[in-house]
């Protein structure tokens, strides 16, 4: 069969051309523009400035803080989602009644807009009459009442919580698919050998669930580095710069018109995410076992 004739390359052209023009070209252009003094007022006349943008960024304490915050956010949210997602999946894989209803509820946050969720959680974390403070008062914990998003010490933790709240159900769906793929033979054999529930979990469930862990960890780490909407809506990087992350800093530089600096930051974010994706994927794949 002549595949050349029957599977023509031109079938791929609409997708490939669209993707190259509107995705790859900006990536390549961004690489070059990072080394210029490009500004919104001189859109067509950028001048080459070497590594000046990068040197300035690494001397800028706000950029370093945004970088630290982004890494912290990615790490904490990924840990939270890996654990809570697994917990939800194990609950639904147990003998609990009403599984279909619970699954529907647990997954719901994954489909809601981050803008809607962000504004909703502003009501939860509000100082005066906010939901969380209301609950603390009702429990008699007045001394814990706090301006959660207005306090630099707690603002970041609130945004981390929102991300975990949104994505744990999504991770649950991936774990559940993995759990359903594990043959019951393994558990029956283990039961005959007199294994305890904990032993079964450690020696059968966890290792055979490694592919699901790979996906959940990689996806959420990448997603964590890209975080934008929830920060933009809930704190816009504040109070001060305490919740500033790379994407919001890129946006604020863009709004000021400093396109060269903004591109330089985008390039760094791009490089970081690419390296982390490759490293994580290789490291985690090694730990997967054949079923």
């Amino acid at each position: 069969m002549k595949t050349k004739k029957f599977y023509p390359n031109y079938f791929t052209f609409p997708a490939v051309v669209l993707f190259i023009v509107f995705y790859c070209v900006p990536i390549i252009a961004g690489f070059f523009m990072s080394f210029t003094d490009w500004h919104i007022k001189r859109l067509l006349a950028p001048k080459f400035v070497g590594f000046k943008n990068f040197a300035r960024l690494f001397g800028d304490e706000h950029f370093i803080l945004a970088l630290k915050n982004t890494v912290l956010f990615a790490v904490l949210t990924t840990i939270g989602i890996v654990i809570f997602g697994l917990l939800l999946a194990l609950l639904l894989n147990s003998a609990v009644k009403g599984k279909a209803f619970f699954r529907t509820v647990f997954y719901l946050p994954a489909v809601l807009s981050l803008i809607v969720i962000g504004i909703m959680f502003k009501a939860v974390f509000k100082m005066d009459g906010g939901v969380l403070n209301n609950i603390l008062m009702a429990l008699g914990l007045q001394n814990l009442v706090n301006d959660w998003l207005g306090n630099p010490k707690t603002a970041m933790m609130c945004i981390v919580f929102v991300q975990i709240w949104k994505w744990s159900g999504f991770a649950m769906a991936i774990y559940l698919a993995g759990l359903q793929g594990i043959s019951t033979d393994y558990y029956e054999a283990a039961m005959l050998d007199g294994a305890t529930a904990l032993q079964k979990f450690r020696n059968i469930t966890l290792p055979l669930l490694m592919p699901a862990f790979t996906v959940v960890i990689t996806m959420n780490t990448i997603g964590g580095f890209k975080v934008f909407e929830q920060v933009y809506v809930m704190t816009n990087g504040g109070p001060g710069f305490s919740t500033q992350v790379l994407s919001t800093y890129i946006y604020s530089e863009f709004s000021k018109g400093s396109l060269g600096r903004s591109s330089a930051m985008s390039l760094l974010l791009f490089l970081m995410i690419s390296i982390i994706a490759v490293v994580l994927n290789t490291a985690l794949r090694k730990r997967e076992v054949e079923m």
Partner: protein, 278 residues
Amino acid sequence: MKLGMREKRIASSAILTIITIAACLIILIPLMIVVLGSFKDSAQAQKFALALPAEWHIDNYSHVLVKGKIGQAFRNSMFITVSVTAIVVIAGSLSAFVTSRKQTRYTQFVYYLFLIGMVAPIQIVTTYALLQFLKLSGTFIGVILVETALQMPWTIFTMSGFIKNVPRELDEAAFIDGATPVRTFFSVIFPLLKPIVATVIVTTAMGAWNEFMVPLYFFNSSSKWTMPLTVYNFFGQYSSDWNYVFADLVLTALPITILYLLCQKYVVAGATAGAVKG
């Protein structure tokens, strides 16, 4: 007292049920406060309590529809979502069909090209300049094309995974009967892709409806704003009138929530389809 097997099992299942309900409440309570609050008056909504509205203010919704310019935003969001989804499904399935049917250097190149897109974040500043250069800045077409490019990689990987399991004999039989590639694809293959097309449609539609960053960067005129942009802006103006803010949130989230409840099977399949491939 020593517990027997039966009591132990009942106790442990009760504990599991309690934990499950607690997790459920953590998700539902904030959502219920929003929905209930959207029917309250301003003073009662500000208390953020789970109580039923003292008086049901359905007029909050008509107020938001007028003041929040929801009608226009709804049409804009709808137009962008439908366009992005249509282009992604057709261009994506065509490309996935060819790349999953033959192994050449070109298809290898296409594979790696889209693999980059699965990981790399969008370079929004240069995309902005590109749209300026193409005279597409601030237009619907510009935003639609950028969002299409953004959604393409995932679609192609998901579709390829599915097409690989469609027997090759079907297209070969059509070719022997003298059908052209275009005809073969649209009348033989595409109808068989229904489940995965449904998955791609709901996943893409949700992504496009909820997309915030692209319209935020590229639309300066409020007449083109989408639902999430409008609700963000509305919140900035009316942040003390939580009843209106909540009604606006409900209106923004409602279409997606309905789509989710109706097509849950396909939505969850979308989450795991991308995952299996990795």
